[in-house]
Symmetry: C2
Subunit: 371 residues, 2 copies
């Protein structure tokens, strides 16, 4: 009989985990705010935060803990593991996934291809790195950034000093790379090491936020194979369980690690319609140590995020639903300009056409002008 899965977090990722949980009769309990996006679709919610108190209450209520975000008290997770609780992914995996400095140290040792990098809080070391690699540089605090927050570009030494002063600690320093394309590869991995890997998706960022995702990525087969290979090696190296999203840069045809997320990821929403088994279902299967589902493409697909504009997209739902063959996903989150409120997916063999349809539906939801 399947374990009770405790999910830390109640955002849209938790909400999208609930549909396959219901389908496979996997019992779920959330540690979340009762106002969170997932709350209306889950009876068993522990109102709390991902701190020691909340995590311990969740651990008592479930058989295995997992996460939908990484802003979790990892020391408590490690304590819970020592006390015999199942935590998937493990606190050790999460500790690497949340820390871009540690990622580079650990994965460099495993031969994962990385851009030149430096971790420092010293301006003179940044300048020496620039002497070697040239300005501009990209500076990122090791922890806490997402959707483009926490990424600074410094054009010169003065700018770099300002970033260091603002951050007030170590940063990861890298050259600003001439990126051909960004890819993400999702790996589902069971506790015993069985993996199922999705074809690479192509991600298009706007202001650092993932906005459009294409499945499959429009890259040569050799690049796709290299990306998948790197992702599998990363999953193995850090012992991930559940979905691991490996974000990659392609620079001059070469695949380089960007960052990791040890959970379902925005880049994988396209798998709901596009793959035989969605990332959400495979995350649950992996966490429950059940056989993984088929990750092959069912339909070439394009996802476009719905980011809050001048109105609440809910007001424009009727118009968007007039559009045929586009799947609308709204997260039920309170409207705020710039906030991710949903996504749309269009499927079809012609990715350019699917992209146009998905963009049209996204525009209909954000602006209220269906086309």
């Amino acid at each position: 009989v399947p374990p009770v899965i405790g999910i830390v977090g109640g955002g849209q990722l938790a909400r999208m985990l609930l549909a396959p949980a219901a389908r496979l009769a996997l019992p779920v309990v959330l540690l979340a705010d009762p106002e969170d996006a997932a709350a209306p679709f889950c009876r068993d919610l522990i109102a709390g935060r991902p701190d020691a108190d909340g995590l311990r209450r969740l651990a008592e209520a479930c058989d295995v803990l997992t996460v939908e975000h990484e802003l979790v008290d990892l020391d408590t997770l490690a304590d819970l593991e020592r006390e015999g609780h199942l935590v998937r992914p493990s606190s050790a995996t999460l500790a690497i996934a949340v820390d871009k400095a540690r990622q580079r140290r650990v994965l460099g040792d495993h031969g994962i291809p990385l851009a030149p990098w430096l971790v420092t809080d010293a301006a003179d070391r940044v300048e020496a790195f620039a002497d070697e690699h040239g300005w501009p540089l990209v500076l990122k605090p090791p922890r806490g950034g997402y959707d483009g927050r926490g990424v600074f570009v410094a054009d010169d030494a003065a700018a770099a000093r300002a970033v260091l002063a603002e951050v007030g600690g170590e940063v990861v320093v890298e050259p600003r790379l001439p990126i051909d394309v960004e890819l993400s590869v999702l790996v589902a991995r069971r506790p015993g090491g069985e993996t199922a890997v999705y074809p690479a998706v192509e991600t298009c960022q706007v202001d650092g936020m993932c906005r459009e995702v294409l499945l499959p990525a429009r890259v040569p087969p050799a690049v796709e194979q290299e990306a998948v290979g790197v992702a599998l090696r990363v999953a193995e190296a850090i012992g991930s369980v559940g979905i691991l999203a490996v974000e990659l840069f392609v620079v001059g045809g070469e695949v380089l690690l960007n960052e990791l997320a040890a959970r379902p990821h925005n880049a994988g929403h396209v798998t709901i319609e596009g793959a035989v088994t969605s990332q959400f279902e495979n995350h649950l299967r992996a966490v429950a140590d059940l056989p993984l589902g088929d990750t092959t493409i069912r339909h070439p697909s394009v996802m476009v995020n719905i980011v809050g504009g001048d109105h609440d997209p809910l007001e424009h739902l009727p118009g968007a639903l007039e559009l045929r063959d586009v799947a609308v996903h709204l997260y039920g989150k309170a409207y705020r300009p710039g906030r991710k409120l949903g996504h749309v997916t269009a499927t079809g063999d012609d990715l350019d056409d699917a992209l146009r349809r998905a963009q049209g539906a996204a525009t209909a939801l954000v602006e209220g002008t269906p086309r």
Copy 2:
């Protein structure tokens, strides 16, 4: 902004309505038993029964009422309508759908093709009907039967008298027809009359319970068109809103009405994978008066029900998940032999192959022997 949808009932149909409700950000409240199948995946549950008290509490908590089963206090629904509450489908539609005698009277007047029928509680009238149409006859109480319960076959006058004595009231009497095949046609209909109709599915009953469903039905195009046409006329005649499932017999190439269900139906589970828009999503769209989704076939598909055997299918979930390209749906209901506990759907252009795969997965779940 979409209305709050109040669903009467908390079984697997309500459970399967929750996934598209979450996806489209349609708020839902259930009137159900807290032990029901849908309860773990819905926060807003009113514990109660579909009686006057329960229905009134649900009406206060929602903007529009709908049902996932017909065993509802229709007088109270009619009162609520008079008081200004939205009830979709209406109490008038439900009154026809729940009553096989009334169905025949109303739909015969609208020119819907029916087998010869008689409604009576008098043995001599049954015998006169048999003189005209021959034994055996099928006798059904007008209300309350489902999954083969409430259908009696009488081989002679003595048997018919025994049925009348057991029923203790009127029955619908029909000849036992030499059925070529059984079809169901699902019609989604909005309050203003806009409809979207699914291609006919073929249903295979075992002991009167729907066990296998094929999309599309293996019938000549003319029969399919006739079935769809009859279903659309029925939906119009009874003013259905939401999904109406029209069950049909094909006898000698002629389409005859069998019965109705004014709600999502077992015959439509195959639309989750098989159609562009599932019956569950279209039921919600119709009830919320939103544009209906595309009902065309995405993948030819076969559904096989999981009916409780010697063990709880949950014990066999790992084996069933080893099977590729079969979608497993479990309802989280307590195991009991003979109870519908889930279904599996297989897709593919070769329906015979899909049927074999779905049957194999169903066997794996029921008996624990994957093949």
